[in-house]
Symmetry: C2
Subunit: 349 residues, 2 copies
Amino acid sequence: MPHHGRSRQGMTDPVHKSRVTSFDVAEKAGVNQSTVSRALKGDPAITEKTRTRIQLVAQQLGYRVDDRAARLRGGKTGTIAVIVIARSGVDFTEINPFHYNLLGSVCAAAAARGYQALVSFQSEPESYYSDYIESRQADSLIILGTSTNDAAWQFHRPLLDRNDVSSWGSPFGDHRRIASDNLTGGRLAAERLLQGGYHDLVFIGGVDDRQTQFRDRYTGFCNALANVGKSAGTPVDAAGSTRVEQGRNAVDDLIASGRTFDGLFCCCDAMALGALQALAKAEIRVPEQVGVIGFDGLTSGAHASPPLTTIEPDFKLAGTMLVDAALAGDGTNTDGRIPVHIVERASVS
Amino acid sequence: MPHHGRSRQGMTDPVHKSRVTSFDVAEKAGVNQSTVSRALKGDPAITEKTRTRIQLVAQQLGYRVDDRAARLRGGKTGTIAVIVIARSGVDFTEINPFHYNLLGSVCAAAAARGYQALVSFQSEPESYYSDYIESRQADSLIILGTSTNDAAWQFHRPLLDRNDVSSWGSPFGDHRRIASDNLTGGRLAAERLLQGGYHDLVFIGGVDDRQTQFRDRYTGFCNALANVGKSAGTPVDAAGSTRVEQGRNAVDDLIASGRTFDGLFCCCDAMALGALQALAKAEIRVPEQVGVIGFDGLTSGAHASPPLTTIEPDFKLAGTMLVDAALAGDGTNTDGRIPVHIVERASVS
DNA sequence: TTGAAAGCGCTAACAT
DNA sequence: ATGTTAGCGCTTTCAA
C-alpha cells in the first residue's frame, strides 16, 4: 500500500503517472519516504546496503530531489542574486567589458561557495527590481556596474547598507563597498610614468563626488607626484556619451589648450582608448612623445595601437570578496580593497 | 484564534517571531489565509475592499510572498538556467566578449519573458553540471560558448536534442541549434572585399568538422566568389593557444608562403585582430595594400589599428531566439539563423 | 465572495 | 538504523 494520507490524485491510477517523488522511490524500495531522503543526502545513519538499494531504485525511476522543495523547509535558497547595472539605452555589446569580467568572477566565486547565481541586467527603469531576498529567490545580493547610471543606483541605494548585500561601483561614498585599491593604482601609474622618463603628467577623467573610484585614483596619482616634489595639475575631463568619447574629447581639449604634457594617466581604459585616438589624430606618437596608462585591464587595450599599458585589479579576488561580503551577513570583511598590478604593454617607454 | 493545526512553535510565543507568513497577515486582517493568497495575486473574486485591507496589513508586517513556496505547487520554477562554456584554464578577462554579449542578451530576453536567469560558467570539468531541470532549479536550459572546449560540450551533448534546451556554439552538427546566418555572413564579407577593389582573397581560419560555424562562413565566402567566377583557394589556419595567436600565426605563415593576396576574411574577430598584428609586423598597410574583414562585432575591433570592419550578428535577436527555443518545449522555431550585417570601420577601402 | 482543508515534495524532530 | 509525524509557506479544489 502506498504512503497514506498523502497520496496524490493519480497515485493509485497508473495511467496518471505525474512526476516521480521520493514516495514512489520509497514504495518501490520498500522503505519509508524519510529513509529515501536520508539515504540520498548521505546521512551516515543509513546502512550502505539500504542506501545502495535506494539509489538504484531512484535511478531506475529517474528520480531527482526537488531542490526547491528540499530547501523550503530550511529557509535558505542556496542562490545569490547578482544585479548588473549598465548605462541606460546601450545594448549588450556596449556594456563595459570590465563589468562582464566582474560578473564572471562573481559567478565563479558563488559556485565555489556552493551557491547558484541568479543574474539580471538592470539598466532601464522598467527592469529595476531588488526584492530577491524578500521573495526568497536568493539569500544575498550583489550589485555591480557603472557609476554613471545614477537612477539605477538611486533605486538600489537603500540596499547598499544591508549586510546581506555587497556592491561594486556605486556612485555613493557613504556605505560599505568592495573596490579596487584605487589609491595604490593611481600611485603605480604615476611612478611608472616617471620611471619611463615622462615629467609633465596629467590626469584624464572626472573627479567629482559621484566618481569616488576615479577620485581615489587621482589622489593616489597626486600623492606619488607630491612625493617627488611634483604637482599633478588640474585633471582634464570632457563630456561625451561614452567613456571612449569622453577620453577623446578630453585629450582634444588638452591639446587645443596648449598646456604642455608628456604623460597621461587615464582614469579608465575606455577613456585611455579614446585618448589614444585623439593622440593619433594629432599625430603625437605614443610612447615616444607621450606615455599613456589606463586602468581596468580591458582586453581591448591589448589590441589598441600601441597596446595600452594599464593598471588591472585582481578579478578573481574581486569576485570572491563580493561573494564573501554578501554571504557573511554579519558585516565581516565587507569593505574591501582589491589589489591591483600594472600590466606592461607598449604605451609607456 | 490563529490558524489551527498549522501553528509554528513560536506562533503563540511573541518572543520567537520568525519570519512573517501569509498566516500572520491573515490573522491580523481577520481573514483566512487563502484569502490573503488570492488577494495578493490579484484574484478578481476578492473584493477591492478586502484586498486593500490585506495589502495594507501585508505592508505593515513587511510580508512578501515566498516565491519558491508559491511555485512549489505549480511545478514551474520561472527560471531558466544558462551555462556558459569558455576555454579551460582561462580566467574571466580572457573569455571571448562575444559570449558575454550573448549572455547579456539571453538574460534580457529571459527577463522579458518573465523568467529569471540562473547562470553558471563551466569551463573546467569539476564545474560541469547540467541537472538544473531534473532538480527543478529551472524549467529550461540554454548552453552557449566556445566550440573549442570539446570536453565540456561532450559532457552536455546528450542535452542538446531536448526540446527544453537550446544552444549556441556546439562543435557538433547533428542537432538543433541557434547560430548566426554564417552563410550570408561569408557572402557579405566576400562581396564587400571585392567591392573594395581587392581580388586575391583568402580565408583565414579552420574549416574542419568541429568548426561548423567557420565552415559555413567559408562556404558562403566561396559561393560569393564562385558567383563572379573566382575561387577562394585554400583556407589558411595555424595552431595557437588563443584565437588571436592563431590568426597571427596563420597570417605569418601566409606571408612566408609567398602566396599572393590582397584581401583577408578572418573567420572571427579574434583571429582578425591577430591577423592585423601580423600584417603590421610585416609592414603591410591595411586597408591600402590588404583589406581585412572579421566576424563577431567585437568592441576590441573598434579600437584596433585600423578599426576592424566586421560582420556582426543581431545579438538582441539571438538572445530572444535562444530563450524562445528553450521555452517552447515543443520543438517550435528551435533551429534558427540570426541575421547578420556588416559593420563598416576602416580595414577595407 | 470567502472559509476549510488538502496537498506541492521534501526535511527534520521525535519515536522506536 | 529506520519509521512516524509534523511541518516549510503557499495554491487550489471543494464547500458554504
